[in-house]
Amino acid sequence: MNVQNPKIGVYICHCGMNIYPKVDVMKVAEYAKTLTHVSVASEYKFMCSNPGQELIIEDIKQRGLNRVVVASCSPRMHEPTFRKACETAGLNRFYFQMANIREHSSWVTLDSDMATQKAMELVTAAVKRVSFHAPLYTKDVPVQKSVLIIGGGIAGMQSALTAADAGFKVHLVERETYIGGHMAKFDKTFPTLDCAACISTPKTVSIGQHQDITLHSYSEVTELSGFVGNYKAVIRKKPRYINEDTCTGCGLCAEKCPVSVPDPFNENLGNRKAVYRSFPQAVPLTFCIEKKDPAPCRISCPAGTNVQGYVQMVKTGNYQQALNIIMERLPLPGVLGRVCPHPCETDCRRSLTDSAVSIRDLKRFAADNAKLEDVPLPKVEDRDEKIAVIGSGPAGLTVAYYLRRKGFKVSIFESMEKPGGMLRTGIPDYRLPPAILDAEIDHILSTGIEMNTGVGLGNGITLAGLKEQGFDAIFLGIGAHVPVKMNIENEDADGVIDAVPFLKEENLERPGSAKKRVVVVGGGNVAMDAARVAIRSGAQSVSIVYRRTRNEMPADHEEVEGAIEEGIELINLVGPKKVITQDGKVIGLECIKNELGPADDSGRRRPVPVEGSEFIIDCDMIIPAIGQRVESSPVLEDTDVDLTAWGTFNVDQITFQTSVPSVFAAGDAVTGPATVVEAVAGGHRVVRAIEKYLNNEMELLEDEIRQENKMAGKNDFLPVPEDVPVVKRAKTSFMEPSERKNCFDEVDLGLDEASAQKDAEKCLNCGLCCECMECVNACEVKAVDHEMEEEIIEVDAGAVILSTGFKTFQAEKLFQYGYGIYPEVYTSLEFERLNNATGPTSGSIQMKNGKTPERVAIVHCVGSRDSRNNKYCSRVCCMYSMKFAHLVREKTGAEVWEYYIDMRSPGKLYEEFYDRVQEEGVHFVRGRVAEITDITDHPEDDGRLTVVAENTLTMKTLRTPVDMVILSVGLEAAEGSEDVGRMAGVSRDKDGWFNELHAKLAPVSTPISGIFLAGCCQGPKDIPDTVAQASGAAGEAISLLSKGTVSTKAEISFIDPELCAGCKTCIEVCAYSAIDFDGSRDVSVVNETLCQGCGSCSSACPASAAGVKQFTDLQLMNELEGFL
């Protein structure tokens, strides 16, 4: 409690004519004299002036005042001034209170008496309050001698260099891959026409080399905490996938990169590679790889093959690398290039515009045109663990191959004489020539895998036996080879042979066992295979009986087509009922017609037999192909392995372990009959599981897989360009049906090189980087690292400078200017790139058709001075427009029209530049353009654009035909500045620009002490102003930090230990963790360096123990009493 007897001086300011005469200041002063404790009250023209302050100082000294009230402007403006004056007179600065009678009275009150009355009440409240003020003291705390700068455009660079040259450490954070901001895109700068690169490169280079500047490029600040002198920032550094320390910037990676995408640095007027550097002089010189989510084709491939990668390699003719990529995930490329049902093509986004890329055919093309023996094998360290793989189908081969690549000793046991499983016995040779299969299996085995043929479960080995032989893990890939019965009468008659044994026999021995008239039952690929093999092995007629319609057939479309072409008859909506026999031999199949009923669980409509529609198909051979199941009995012989209700092995969905921990299973033996690629996919899961199992890391696997599942499905792909041409899908050539139906030669002849490359070119590169690893191979210093992850960096800084810059107005919004509709309408940034020596046309100003424009219009105020868009003037457009006019005249000699509302050229040498451009013959039209249209009044102007505007000086509406239009788009606050503002606590004005502390007197400071503004983030400005302001901001930061200490806030919370009940409510509500609990005294204690003085604790404290200094209950209650 204040013991001093208050002696208050009250001073009323006229503020020139701003307060007086609206407020009768004399009356207010007279009134003030009547208030308790007031010993002096006077008015003065300008209290903030030196004589005004002297008045206060003199009174304190002479009359012994111990409290001061000034009624003038907002305390946000002059509170520091008057507090300083008190201090000068030896009074604690907090014995001061301000009454805001300008902003809150004279300026906003219409009636003069009312304004005076209000001023008197404001003064009363201030007087009442100040009586209860207490002296407060600040503490000096040391500061971090470093500056954090957010945004690396010309402003950020200038601030960085200024601060670093003064000896401060600087952290410069830039979200792009290069520094230089918009200026890096410009060719020339107004009004001197300096080359932008020439004047900015020295700065970028110095930044790169300065020992006190740490450049965080391709990074963003995600958190900012702390307070003046001691800020803490969290920086998220995005992965470049290229090591900044080793990259030499040679560009070999980009040369090799097959992926070309629109280049945002060139405003999408040209293309760049997936690995890129925006421009040759970029700092840092490090290249960067841009990745999106893995392409849909890659995601939909069960085996996770990098489809985009090998498609790109086919495109560039690098078939060996294509094969290498395929072999990373598919051990049987030629096989899958022929028989895969290609789910990848279903998900291909190219089908949104025309048709999916012919991915499977491209895979086969790569396999047929590259050498297996050249596929590089990883260096493996041999391990001691032995693994037995039972079954050599696709699942078994996958498991064997990839485990071997990890160094394990692998032995395969195959019960048949030749390896390959269903690939060999189930898929006919005309689809998959045995030579291909042999070659690929040989290659797999050549990596050092032991193959035992003629040995299988129940045929020489048992599970228990294998364990005894010392195998550490066993893989069961025994497939599903047992036919499923039709369950109809006479099924066992002579002439009924199931598709599986039929195909096996024909494939292995080719006895020509088909009879004359064959009926195949089923609609899957096996049925098609059986039918087409039957016609090749002697049948005269073959029919396929299927119970639903062709649409529901599970067989691949190509297979059904092929069968029909070969003369095979499809009999749909028919089910088998009974085999008709004579003397025990088949003579026909009784069938019943079906209708389609409601959908079943598989989503397909269920066939419903039509009563009394039975009929008989004459035939002498019936081949049922309605399914297969697993032969599990030999497995169960000496080991108890759990089975599912369908007779397949029951495995854990994540580990693929059977109920016996060391026994794993995959492929048809787990899934039931499925595709080759699904078997391969299962194999991969098992490889991963067995490795983890043998490393004793099984728990990790579960976490990993859960994590991967969570990551999937963001679908952030490269956008489909708008102008994709329609390209017909490549088709492979086929043997003629008449020729092929008599032999087992391969039907599908594959793609030729030209159509393969053309089709690969259709790929949209959804994932952007295709991870073909060509950059890795090309890089001589091994700087490429596709596994790189984002880094989180924490830095300390005493001060922060925001220099986040601007973005340009989206010209599409002014639809009447036809941007995005007429190709020859450009934005100013596009023109900058068009005119830039490093731009898409190497600096030649030309139209999209390559011709030089003869007539060019430049339209000012696009999106500026427009209350429908941005009300403000963007300040730079008039000048840069005239720079454009000059450049167009200089480079092309074209006629140029400048359409302006008002010409704004206030700057050193700016008006002179205006003169110069006028003298160069540019036509200046004073009028805002109403519209740009392709409609012309004269046929000779067809093909040109017409710019419609009134020349307001002649009152004539001009319709000027031109070849090219440049829209001088205005400036807007940068994307993301809202987040930066929020993080830093700096508010933005209604247009989104950061608010400075004072428009005139503190243009680079913010209300947040220690945070400064530089450049366009505060409002549109040109380069000279930006640089000046950036130097200023750095200067402010230096001035703040040089002393080495800053004063802490005095207006912070306190907790009265006498009153504190130790309930800790304050600790819960404090957003700054600035309150600790003192266990020895059972009270809460404020940490004075962390406390920000928000008062959350004060209002929450149930015991009224917490309060904020300078905002105490007593002070506020008295202020209120003064008002009421």
């Binding site: 009447q816 008002d902 353009v929 109403a930 519209e931 020349n951 509406t957």
Partner: protein, 176 residues
């Protein structure tokens, strides 16, 4: 009425004061399909009003030329309701009964208006005939087009009218 009062009247009319916002950019005039036939485009008209040159304003054909396509309104960067201001000008001229120079567009207005007032509906042939009495040359030059239309049975010679034109006239006359 003296010109200062006219200016005052205009600024006081509902959207009138909006023209104080005008930055004289010319978007309205160049968006206007009729601007070539106007004595002054909307922009110039606003400048004249702000200058107090109401003589020029009320004697110009500009407001009568407006075809209410609203292109000026939809594009004005200051969101000034230009079309409404044209209506406002016409109303002021009509209601103050200022004697102003005659012009073709105003006469067409009058022809339309009298047809409407007499019959409650308008008939193109009537408007044309009435207009041609004042402007015989224009009437003559439009004969070929009229013939074309007549051939296609698209000229209605019978007067279109409401059920009881007399009653309509009586109520309409009292309005103002």
């Amino acid at each position: 009425m003296d010109k200062e009062n006219l200016q005052h009247l205009f600024f006081e009319s509902e959207p009138g004061k909006e023209i104080r916002k005008c930055i004289q950019c010319g978007t309205c005039s160049s968006s206007c399909p009729m601007t070539d036939a106007m004595d002054f485009g909307p922009r110039s008209l606003f400048a004249l009003i702000r200058d107090g040159d109401m003589e020029a304003v009320i004697n110009s054909n500009s407001p009568w030329m407006c075809v209410s396509c609203y292109q000026c309104t939809s594009r004005c960067p200051q969101e000034i309701p230009v079309t409404e201001l044209m209506y406002s000008l016409k109303r002021i001229i009509t209601q103050t009964k200022e004697k102003t120079q005659s012009n073709k567009a105003k006469d067409l207005h009058r022809s339309f208006s009298s047809s409407l007032k007499l019959f409650g509906r308008v008939t193109e042939s009537f408007i044309m005939a009435k207009y041609s009495l004042k402007h015989p040359l224009t009437g003559l030059s439009s004969i070929p087009l009229a013939v074309q239309l007549t051939k296609k049975k698209r000229v209605e010679l019978k007067m279109q009218k409401v059920g009881s034109p007399f009653k309509f006239r009586r109520s309409f006359k009292h309005l103002r």
